[in-house]
Structure formats: structure tokens, C-alpha cells
Amino acid sequence: MSAGTQTAPPRRGARGAARPRAGFAAALLHRLSGIALALFLPMHFIALGTVLQGADRLESFLGLTHNGFVRVAEWGLVSALALHLVLGLRVLAIEWFARRERTALVVSTCVAAGLAVGLLFLLGGA
């Protein structure tokens, strides 16, 4: 029997780095989509605020939404909102009804639902 030999650490072997798991991914997406929505809210209020200054100001502000970047951002926003909603429902189901789940399956379904809403938004001629 050979005594042990020193080797380089394996790729994923860093102590403290458990394998990424679906529950972790769900929490990360939930947090990131929540931050994205929080960042959007001030923009939303600014847009609504321009109404007080007359229809022209609102129209000129809404002109920004024809910009390609803003359109992509809108799609992202709709997806983030849908994702945040379904992932939040998942947490509520787990915590209020003590649902044991197949985490990977449920999280995948939540992400698919969020993206599907985003696609519907695109198909709706946004």
C-alpha cells in the first residue's frame, strides 16, 4: 500500500464551497430580480410625475421608451417581475404549507414561467 501523495486541490474542492443547488439559485434570482424592480420604481414614479407637468412633458419622456436599450430593459423588467412573483409564491408555499418539493424541478418551472411571461410580452408587440 502506498502512502498518500500530495496533490493539487480538485477544481471544485475549495472548503466552504458546497455545490451550487437549485434552492440557492432560486434565492439568488429572487434577490436579483427584486433589486432590479426596486431600481425601476424611481423611474416609474418619475414618469408618472411628469404627468403633473402636462401632456407634452409626459409624451417627451415616453419618447425614451422607443429607444432600443429601453425596450430590452422593459422586457427584462417584465421577466423580472414575473420571476419575482413565482419565486415568491414558491417560498410562501414552502413556509406556510410546509410543502416538501422537488426543488430543482420547481425552481426550473418557476424560471420557465418567468421567461414565458417575458416572451409573451415580446410577442404582444411591445
Binding site: G13, R15, G16, A18, R21, G23, F24, I94, A98, T103
Partner: protein, 261 residues
């Protein structure tokens, strides 16, 4: 004469090596990894592998075990990046490419090699008021607990914990916030919150709320997925979240809406 009873130990030549490629076992030691080669044997567990290495190859390897049958909760380690009881984990079920990577339990200080210091784990058990607190006159406040009452069932769901530390090692929140009480301590607190005889509820709910308490749980479900006893600390923590919220609302109501005497 008390001759040692002969048992089929992993290093015992009576357990024939099984055909097939030998296992390459990488063990985290002294900041790096050390590789060992171990023969495969029928029904071999991870604990068998570690014991074989320690007895036949490197007697300085440190690890911890006691019962070998999943009762004591002392042999948990990270096996291929996941916390597991090594005594109840078969090599055949978890080896990847004829290899195993063994590390000490995550989130706990290492004493040596695969043995970790469990002191922080048990300190949090105490911090979460994990001990039953009787009233001033225990014989007088006798309570009849129906076995099928909801409270008793909630206790039953969490009472089988043997403190192995697997959930604590699986928890990402403990990694982020080392003060976080962790799934095991909170699960224990939840069993006591449902104990109608306990007289320390107010202090316990205060101890398990806050930044290091149940509200910090992100519901990753890691503890529930990894628990070798199939307990669900996530649901226990969710129960504590409800109980602490209810108690906070009651306090608020008492402060602002109390009827004048």
C-alpha cells in the same frame, strides 16, 4: 480472558477486495489535498474507506466516529462537496470516476484533518434556548399532551435530531453570517415552542429572532434536503418565523391598544 471479538473491520483481509478499479481518495489535510488509493470492497462505506486508510496507510489521519450505524451523529464529513454521514453512505452510491473527495464539515473550525470542533454548533444550541425550561413548580403544572394534538405532532416532526451537524454544514446562511444560529438549533427551539409544558417561551422567541435568528433563513432548503434523518428544519424555521411575528404583533397590540384600566 477477554479476547477481542473478531469483527469484519474494513482492513480485515476476510473482507475480500472486489474486482474493479481501486478508489482514489483525496483527503483535505494541512491546507492541501492528500491522495490515497484504496481497494473497493463489497458494501463499503465512506467510513470504511477512511478507517482503512488510517489503519493500513497513514495512522496520523484524524477523523471522528463512534457507533458506525447512524445513531451517534459523530462521523459527518463533506463527501464530494456534500455533507453526509460517512457510516451510512455507500462508496458505490457516491464515488465519481472512481474517486472520492473527503473534507471536514463546512462552517466549523477544523481541529485536525477530518475532525471539526463542534463547540460553535452546540453553543448556538444553547443560545437558541434549546433546553426545556420548567416552571417554578413542575409537579403542579402538569399538562396532558394528546399524542395527536397539532403541537405534539409539530414536536414529533423535529425531535429525532441527533446533532450530527450535517444541516449546519449544508447551510449557506451560516457561511455568510457566522453568528446565524443554524438549522439544528432553530429546529430544536421549534420543538420546545410547541411544548405546552415549557415556561421559557418569551425568552426563547426573543433569542431566535433578529439578524442571527430565524428571520435570516433564505429557504434554500439545503438543510431539509441533506438531513440524514429526513427532518425538515426549513419548516421548523418557518414555524418560528410565524410564531415570532405573532408574538411581535401581540406585543404591539398590547402597547397601543390596551384598554385603560
Amino acid at each position: 480472558m477477554n479476547a477481542p471479538v473478531s469483527t469484519a473491520s474494513p482492513a480485515d483481509p476476510t473482507v475480500e477486495a472486489a474486482p474493479g478499479a481501486p478508489l482514489t481518495v483525496r483527503i483535505r489535510r494541512d491546507g492541501g489535498f492528500q491522495a490515497f488509493t484504496v481497494a473497493r470492497r463489497p458494501a463499503q462505506t465512506i467510513l470504511d474507506v477512511v478507517t482503512e486508510i488510517q489503519r493500513a496507510q497513514d495512522p496520523t489521519l484524524a477523523y471522528r466516529f463512534a457507533c458506525r450505524v447512524g445513531m451517534c451523529g459523530s462521523c459527518a464529513m463533506m463527501v464530494n462537496g456534500r455533507p453526509r454521514w460517512t457510516c451510512r453512505t455507500r462508496v458505490a452510491a457516491v464515488a465519481e470516476d472512481d474517486g472520492l473527495t473527503l473534507e471536514p464539515l463546512r462552517n466549523l473550525p477544523v481541529v485536525k484533518d477530518l475532525a471539526v470542533d463542534m463547540a460553535p454548533f452546540f453553543e448556538k444550541w444553547t443560545a437558541a434556548h434549546g433546553a426545556f425550561e420548567p416552571g417554578a413548580a413542575p409537579p403542579a403544572d402538569f399538562a396532558a399532551v394528546a399524542p395527536d394534538s397539532p403541537e405534539r405532532r409539530a414536536v414529533d416532526a423535529g425531535i429525532e435530531c441527533i446533532n450530527c451537524g450535517v444541516c449546519y454544514a449544508a447551510c449557506d446562511v451560516v457561511t455568510w453570517n457566522p453568528d446565524y444560529l443554524g438549522p439544528a438549533a432553530l429546529n430544536r427551539a421549534w420543538t420546545l415552542v410547541n411544548d405546552v409544558r415549557d415556561r421559557g417561551q418569551e425568552g426563547r422567541l426573543a433569542a431566535v429572532s433578529g439578524d442571527a435568528g430565524c428571520q435570516s433563513c433564505h429557504t434554500h432548503m439545503s438543510c431539509t434536503e441533506h438531513c440524514p434523518k429526513a427532518l425538515a428544519p426549513t419548516f421548523a424555521i418557518a414555524g418560528l418565523k410565524r410564531a415570532t411575528a405573532r408574538s411581535a404583533l401581540k406585543r404591539l397590540g398590547a402597547r397601543h391598544f390596551r384598554r385603560p384600566a
